[in-house]
Every structure is written in C-alpha cells, then in structure tokens.
C-alpha cells in the first residue's frame, strides 16, 4: 500500500505556498503522567499555524490506542482538520517510517519538538531523520521570519535569550524548544471532530531498545548551593549569575576546513571521538 502523506493529511489553510509538516508525539504530564499533547510539539504546531499562506500537515508515528488518540486529538483541537497516523509497534524505530512518509510528501519544512516526553526521549530523532533525508537541521527555532525562493530566514534561540538569525535552504528540519511561543488552547469541539488518517506501515523493531531494561528514574538529592556572602548585593549576584560554560572559543571568518579541524579537536579533547 503506497503512502502519500500529502494526500492523506488534510491541509490547514490554502494549499498555495509552503507545505509544512509538523511531527507530533504523545506527551506525558510531569506530575500525573497522563497522556497529553507534548508541550514542545504543540509549540511547533503553533509556529506552523502562525506562518502565512502555509498548509500544515500533522504526522504521528506510533501505537494507536485510546489514550494516545486523546493526546493526538489535543493537536487537532488547535484548529487542524486531520492528522496522519502511521501505525507502529511499541518497540519500533519510527525514523524509517517517518522518513518514507516525508520523502513521499511535498513538505519543505518539517517542524517538531526538540525532545519527546515519552519513550527514549533522547532528542536524537530529528537528527536521524535529517540524516536519513539528507536535509539540514536547525535546533531551537524561535521564529520563522521569512520564507522565499526555497530558503527560510529564521531566528534560532541561544541560551539566556540570545537570538541568532540564520538563513537555511529548504527542505529542512527544525526543532522547537520552550523558547518558541506557547501553544494556543486546544478546543474540545474541533479535537473531537478532527480526523485521524490511519495507515499501516511495517514496523522496524529497534533491536537495541528491546534489549534495554527501563525503569523509572530514581529521585536524586539535589546538591545545595551554598552562597557564602555577607551582603545582599553578593547574594543577588550569586542568584543572578549566569552558569559559566567555561572555556570555548568563537571562530569567525575561517575556512570550513579550519572549522572542521577545530570541532574535531574539541571532540577529541572531550573524549567523544577516540
């Protein structure tokens, strides 16, 4: 059965202009563990909805059960007619299925949260997907400023409120974290009426994952930060101090070779490469 995501996922607004696909996952409330729309994914949907003259498609790969369905419907409640649902087994690696669906679609921009709230939640999925598709990836998207002639001008969020303006070639994958604008309210009526376009796809079982033993994280005691200070000014400084990353260097106006050299050196120093 061929899968054409752009056919099965209905579009949000007029089909002219850009085709944006948002990958959505099932979230988990931090206190009660109830399934919900994932916060970062919802922000990605919000960002897609605010883009002008764009058709927005939602895509989810995962199991299909009532809990998950309620969570996925949370995205539909933001004012979207349908979501494409690629059914996968619980232990499946969803990257191949997603890559296949995205390749078949006419999507030029793929948005998703930085990290899922359930499952492995390693945050690696967007990278693997970008690798599989051969598309560039940008992280920490804060805003899309302009899209023209196959490139997008975007703002990337950096720590402590800094923003960096980037120009990226489309198609591309962009991840959204909590520096993006918060998601709009999910309304009950549209969520209930929205359509789930279900299609089967063979699941590629993630062998490594199935051999893992997964258990809830143990709560670890937090190290107390002892502030030795005599004055209010010192205490304020300590409270407001920025976390020092230490070290590091900024390279500018270097050739790609020099840049790669520097990165390679750093990775060796940090023990990432041996």
């Amino acid at each position: 059965m061929p899968h054409d995501v752009s056919n099965t996922s209905a579009s949000h607004s007029n089909a002219s202009g850009l085709n944006v696909t948002v990958l959505v996952s099932v979230g988990r409330h931090p206190l009660t563990a109830r399934a919900r729309r994932a916060d970062q994914d919802a922000r990605a949907v919000e960002m897609a909805l605010t883009l002008e003259s764009t058709s927005v498609n939602l895509l989810h790969a995962g199991q299909q059960d009532s809990d998950h369905e309620a969570a996925i419907r949370g995205y539909l409640g933001m004012g979207i007619d349908s979501v494409g649902l690629i059914e996968q087994k619980p232990q499946a690696d969803v990257v191949p299925a997603l890559a296949k669906a995205l390749r078949a679609s006419a999507s030029q921009l793929v948005l998703t949260g930085t990290r899922a709230e359930t499952g492995e939640a390693s945050g690696v999925m967007p990278y693997l997907l970008a690798e599989a598709l051969g598309w560039p990836i940008i992280t920490g998207l804060a805003a899309v400023e302009k899209i023209e002639q196959g490139t997008a001008v975007v703002l990337q969020a950096l720590p402590r409120g800094k923003r960096r303006r980037l120009r990226i070639r489309l198609p591309a994958i962009a991840t959204v974290d909590s520096s993006a604008p918060p998601a709009r309210q999910s309304a009950f009526g549209p969520a209930k009426r929205g359509v789930l376009n279900l299609h089967q796809e063979p699941s590629e079982i993630d062998e490594a994952l199935s051999s893992w033993h997964i258990q809830p994280a143990r709560k670890r005691p937090k190290r107390l930060k002892i502030v030795k200070s005599s004055s209010a000014r010192d205490r304020f400084k300590a409270a407001a101090a920025k976390a020092d990353g230490g070290g590091g260097q900024t390279l500018s106006d270097v050739t790609p070779e020099q840049g790669a050299e520097a990165i390679f050196k750093l990775l060796k120093e940090e023990g990432v490469l041996r």
Partner: protein
C-alpha cells in the same frame, strides 16, 4: 363620524398587531427547538405574572403600584374599548367601568412620566421617553371618547359644530395611543415587553422557578448540561439563532428597566459588561441590525453603534466587531444579581455561559489564565496544577479519617480545592476542630477528591466539567454517607444542583449537601457546641453568591453568628442583593480589566458599616476580600469564628495526660557561652 371611524381604527390596529405578532413569533422561532407545554404554560401566565413576577417588581413599591394601575387599567380599558367601541355595545355600565380603567391608567402614566423627568441613568431613553405620553394619549383619548356613551356628554356631541373639531383632535390622539399600545406592542415598540413578556412567562426555560399553590422553595439555578455525545453538533452558542427559541423570546421580553445594570458588579467596576445592553444586543442580533438605536447605558468603555449582528452571523468575532466583544462575556462573575433582580425573569447567566461554551469548546479562546487553568484541571484535577496526590499534605498532623478506610460515615466532608491554599487551610482546620468538638462522625475523600468542576463549567468548558463530575460521582458512589458538608459554596452548589443531571441509574447523584454554616447551625440547634462570649468588635456578614442567591441560604450563617453573641451590622447590600466579591465565574482567571476592582468596592461596603471584621463563608470571597489593601476590616470565615469561640470540655483522662510531664534529665544540653 367617530362611531364609524373608531371601530375601523380599533380593528385595523388589532389586525396590524396580529400581523406583527406573527412576524415576531417567527423571529423567535429562528432559535433551536425546545419543547414546552404550550397550553399548560399559557394557563400559568396569570399566576406567574401576579405572584412570581410581581414579587420581584414589588421590591420597588412605587413602581409596583404604578404598574398595577397603568397595566391593569390598560388591559381592562383595551378589552372594554373593543366591546364598547369596536362592537358598539351601548352599555352605560361598561362605559363607566371603561372610564374608571382609563382614569387609573392615566394616573399611572403620570407617575411614569414623573419618574422619567429626569430619568435615572439605569433607564433607557429613546422611544421609552415617549411611552408615558403615549399612555396618556391612549387613556385620555379613550376617556373622552367614552364620555357620550356613559351619558356625561350628550349623544352625538362629536357630530355638532365645535364637536367636529374636537373629534378631529381626538382621532389624532387615539391613533397615537392605539399605534403605541396595539401596533407598537408587536412591531418592536416599548410595549413589546407586554406581549413578549407574557409569552416568556408561559414558555420560560426554567419553569421550576415559578411558585405553585403547594408553596415551598422555587429556585432553579443549576446550569443545564450540554450534550457532548453528538459528534457533529456545534457546542454552545455561536449565533443568535443558536439559542433556543424560548431564550430568544426571553431576551425580547426585556423592558430595559436597568435593574440588572444597577446591581451588576462588573458594570459598577467599569468592566465592559452591562447585562441590559447584553440582552438588547441579543435582540439586535435576533432581528438583525446595529446597536445604534440602543438608548441606555453602554458597556463601560465601549461606544454604542460600533457593533452589529444578524440571526445567522457570529456573536463574537476573534477580531472583535461582531455583535458583542468576547471580553464582555468574560467580565461576568456569574453572581446572578441580574437574574435575581430582573422583573422579567430573564436568564442572563445561562445566556452568557452558553456563549462562553462556544468560545472555549469551539474557538479555544478562553482569555488570560483560562487556558492554563483548564489544562491543569484536565491534567491534575485541580485548577492550580498541583500534584493530586498532595491534596492532604496540609492535614498531615490532623489524622483525618479517610473514606477509603472507613467506607461509611455520617458526614462526608468535601474539602474542595482550598486544600492547596494556605489561607483556606486555616478555615478547613477550624471547621474540622468544630466537627471534632461536636463529635461528628465524618470522613474525607482525600486524594480521591477532584475539583468539583465549578470553575471549568463557568469558563464554558463543559467537557472538563462533565469529566470531573462523572469521576467524582463514581468515587462518591463507592461510599455510604448520609450527607455531604463543604466549606465551599461553589462545590456546594455544583454537588447539590448540577451533579444530579449527570447521575445514572446505577450511580445516582442526588446528594443531601450542606454548606458548613448550615451544618454548624444545625449542630448549635442540637446543642452540640458551647461558645465563649464574643469579645471582638463589630461584625458584618458578606453573603456568598453561590450560597445566597444560588441556594437561598441567608439565615443559617446569621443564626450561627447570633449564637456566637455577635450582632451583625448589615451592609446596605446584603441578602439577596449582596454584592459579589468578584471571585465567581472564573472572573479572577479571565481577569478583564475595569476602572476599579470588585473586591475593593465590596470592602468599601464593609467600611460603611464601621465593622472591624467581616464574616465570610466562601474560600473565593476570603481570597478576594483579603486581597484588598489595608487598612480594612479583618476577614474571617464563620468556621474560624466558631472554632475560636469553642469551649471544649476535655475528657478527664486526656486532661491528666496533657499536664506537663515531670522534667526528665536531659541527655544533651546546649552549652551556653
């Protein structure tokens, strides 16, 4: 001439009125269907008018008498005029009665005219300003034209000489009078209120509100459930035509007296809401057009004439500029002061919640913190987003009996979401000490309790309300208890009046629910509590809307205060006219700005009584009133006042235990330098 002209005028006015009536009925029938007992309803009109409606009107004695004279005189005069002048029945007795009726109507219209010179701000001007003159025209015209029939003027007076001129003038006056009173009644003139009002009473959406001969309480304040099962149905009210037809009829009955406006806390605070204007806007929407002809007070800060609508056009636009702005709907505290005050028994709060339901359930547009609170209610079953397993953390030292352990108890104590609020925890502690002092067998649900759903429902999120309510009902159905007691009037109202509709055959949800003030009063009457003498200063009492207006409990809190030896210094607005604290209906969550804050106005009411302390019975009221900057009166819940005054006779053995133990030698001592 008049003998032939008068029947023609009368019957053509009646015919035009009949055509207008059909047109008006068709306007109402644009609404959604709603089945009502037609004949039974129409039969009830006299009683509903003379007893229930008059009961409200009578709060203003002068206007009540004026209305009896004018309306009674008019109805009688109109009927007799049809008989005497329309059918030409030449009866001196009937003519004398007709003279008396028109005299009564004329006297009434004099008072109406006096009230409108100058009109108070709450009254609408425009066409309403000519109504007293029209009443006079009808009554005077009918009076003079009847004089020959009654034998006071010679027969044929109007056919002779100067009589012709008089007849001509008289015809003009009568045409004016008939035009206003018959034609205007169904074609949208001020007299529309009589026609629509009578039918509104007959087909009212809440027939339970009206008394019957058996007596008893007649109150219907619980919101009606919205069916959510139908996947295609639109939820809530988007367009005027989405109201049920009898709701539209109710809006049309509005007489624009502005009593609602005078009582509305949001209007007084300068928030963009005026209940009268809202109802008039619904009429504008039903008939189509703009609000430019509205001649009363506008929504504060919103000029008249900028909004327009049609029966099948949206009431609220995302961008604004439709019939009503969303912030108007979100300003309401659902305090029901307007409904309580409305002499036409219009249901403003129902309409507002219906429109909010659309905004929340279909648009997903609950303002400010609304979306966050609803998300919290969905994810954590409480509006603050606290861990639902921490509901009893505040009571770690109280050793509260849990329903899960006991399975049954005399009293199920419903704690409410106040458990997460440190101020309300003091109230709950106080009430628990009262229960223990009275030896009441009680238990709490603990972590099994959820938000009652009140705030979700008032914010229009019927889905979350029903989900919470159904799960609460399921939990409650596992245990046996005689009654539920709660310190929160909002939970009290919802459990008592709104859960019933959601119960099923296996899990009925008809509970006997008490507010803690009522229950304490019961304990006092049963002699289970003993109090010290009151030593504090003067005290006033603030009636919570959801206890008073919603449930009619004005007496028990006052009786408890009296038992404590407190003489309540009543505020000017107390009892059924109590002013809202501003905390209801999700108003603190949607937080629509105004010129001043509602709780500030309420504390000003308190200050006027000179009281040092204001007794309250609601966690919302406590929070809102305590948020007012000092200097102000102290705020204490009734439970706290009772707990402070308790005289607890400790059992003998316990008393010995609590004596200070003999000083044991300490193994570790602090070394003092």
């Amino acid at each position: 001439m008049l003998d032939t002209l008068l029947p023609i005028l009368l019957f053509s006015a009646l015919a035009l009125a009949a055509i207008g009536a059909v047109r008006r009925v068709r306007l109402w029938r644009q609404g959604r269907p709603s089945s009502v007992p037609v004949i039974k309803g129409l039969m009830q009109v006299p009683r509903r008018y003379l007893v229930d409606l008059h009961h409200v009107v009578e709060r203003d004695k002068l206007i009540s008498h004026t209305h009896v004279a004018t309306a009674g005189g008019f109805v009688l005069a109109a009927l007799l005029a049809i008989v005497v002048h329309g059918f030409g029945l030449d009866s001196a007795i009937l003519a004398w009665v007709l003279l008396a009726a028109t005299t009564s109507m004329f006297l009434g219209s004099l008072v109406v005219a006096k009230r409108r010179s100058p009109p108070p701000s709450r009254l609408s001007k425009g066409p309403w300003m000519r109504l007293p003159k029209s009443l006079m025209a009808f009554s005077l015209g009918m009076f003079v034209v009847t004089l020959p029939t009654a034998g006071i003027l010679p027969e044929g007076f109007f056919q002779s000489g100067a009589g012709w001129l008089a007849a001509l003038a008289l015809t003009g006056v009568i045409i004016w009078g008939l035009g206003e009173m018959f034609f205007g009644m169904t074609w949208g003139g001020p007299m529309k209120h009589a026609f629509a009002g009578a039918l509104h009473l007959a087909f009212h959406r809440r027939p339970e509100r009206f008394s019957n001969r058996t007596g008893g309480e007649h109150r219907s304040t619980g919101l009606k459930a919205l069916p959510l099962e139908d996947d295609t149905a639109k939820l809530g009210v988007e367009k005027p035509a989405d109201f049920t037809w009898n709701q539209l009829l109710g809006f049309d009955a509005c007489v624009q007296c502005g009593r609602c406006e005078a009582m509305c806390p949001a209007f007084a605070a300068g928030q963009p809401l005026n209940p009268k204007k809202l109802i008039q806007d619904m009429v504008v929407g039903m008939a189509g057009g703009t609000d430019a002809h509205y001649a009363g007070s506008p929504y504060p800060g919103k000029p008249v004439g900028e909004h327009a609508g049609s029966p099948h056009g949206p009431i609220v636009n995302r961008a604004g500029g439709a019939l009503v702005d969303a912030e108007t709907l979100w300003s309401c505290t659902t305090c029901r002061a307007c409904v309580e005050e409305c002499p036409m028994m219009i249901e403003h709060v129902d309409a507002i919640v219906d429109m909010r339901r659309f905004l929340t359930l279909e648009h997903g547009n609950t303002p400010n913190k609304g979306a966050e609170v609803l998300d919290n209610l969905i994810a954590t079953d409480n509006p603050g987003g606290f861990d639902p397993d921490s509901r009893l953390h505040w009571a770690a030292d109280l050793n509260l009996p849990l329903m899960a352990d006991k399975r049954e108890a005399e009293v199920l104590l419903w704690l409410g979401d106040g458990v997460f609020d440190m101020r309300n925890q003091r109230t709950l502690r106080a009430f628990i000490s009262v229960l223990r002092a009275a030896g009441v067998d009680f238990a709490v649900l603990g972590n099994e309790e959820r938000d009652s759903g009140d705030v979700a429902r008032r914010l229009g999120d019927e889905a979350t309300f029903q989900s919470l309510a159904r799960r609460n009902i399921k939990t409650l159905s596992q245990y046996r208890f005689s009654r539920i007691v709660t310190c929160d009037p909002h939970s009290f109202h919802v459990l008592k009046n709104e859960y019933g509709e959601l119960g099923s055959a296996e899990t009925p949800a008809d509970y006997e629910v008490y507010h803690h003030s009522t229950y304490i009063n019961q304990l006092v009457i049963d002699g289970k509590l003993a109090f010290k003498a009151w030593k504090g200063g003067s005290v006033t009492y603030h009636d919570p809307c959801y206890l008073g207006r919603y449930n009619g409990e004005y007496e028990a809190p006052r009786a408890v205060l009296k038992a404590l030896g407190i003489e309540v210094q009543e505020m000017a607005r107390s009892g059924y006219r109590s002013r809202c604290c501003g905390g209801g209906g999700g108003a603190p969550i949607t937080d629509i700005p105004g010129k001043q804050r509602i709780p500030d106005m309420r504390m000003e009411d308190v200050r006027e009584t000179g009281a040092d302390l204001v007794a309250v019975g609601c966690p919302q009221c406590t929070a809102m009133l305590e948020g007012v900057v000092e200097p102000r009166a102290d705020i204490k819940d009734i439970a706290e006042l009772v707990a402070d005054a308790l005289v607890i006779e400790a059992p003998a053995e316990k008393a010995t235990q609590s004596k200070p133990a003999p000083a044991a030698p300490r193994t570790v001592e602090e070394v003092m330098p």
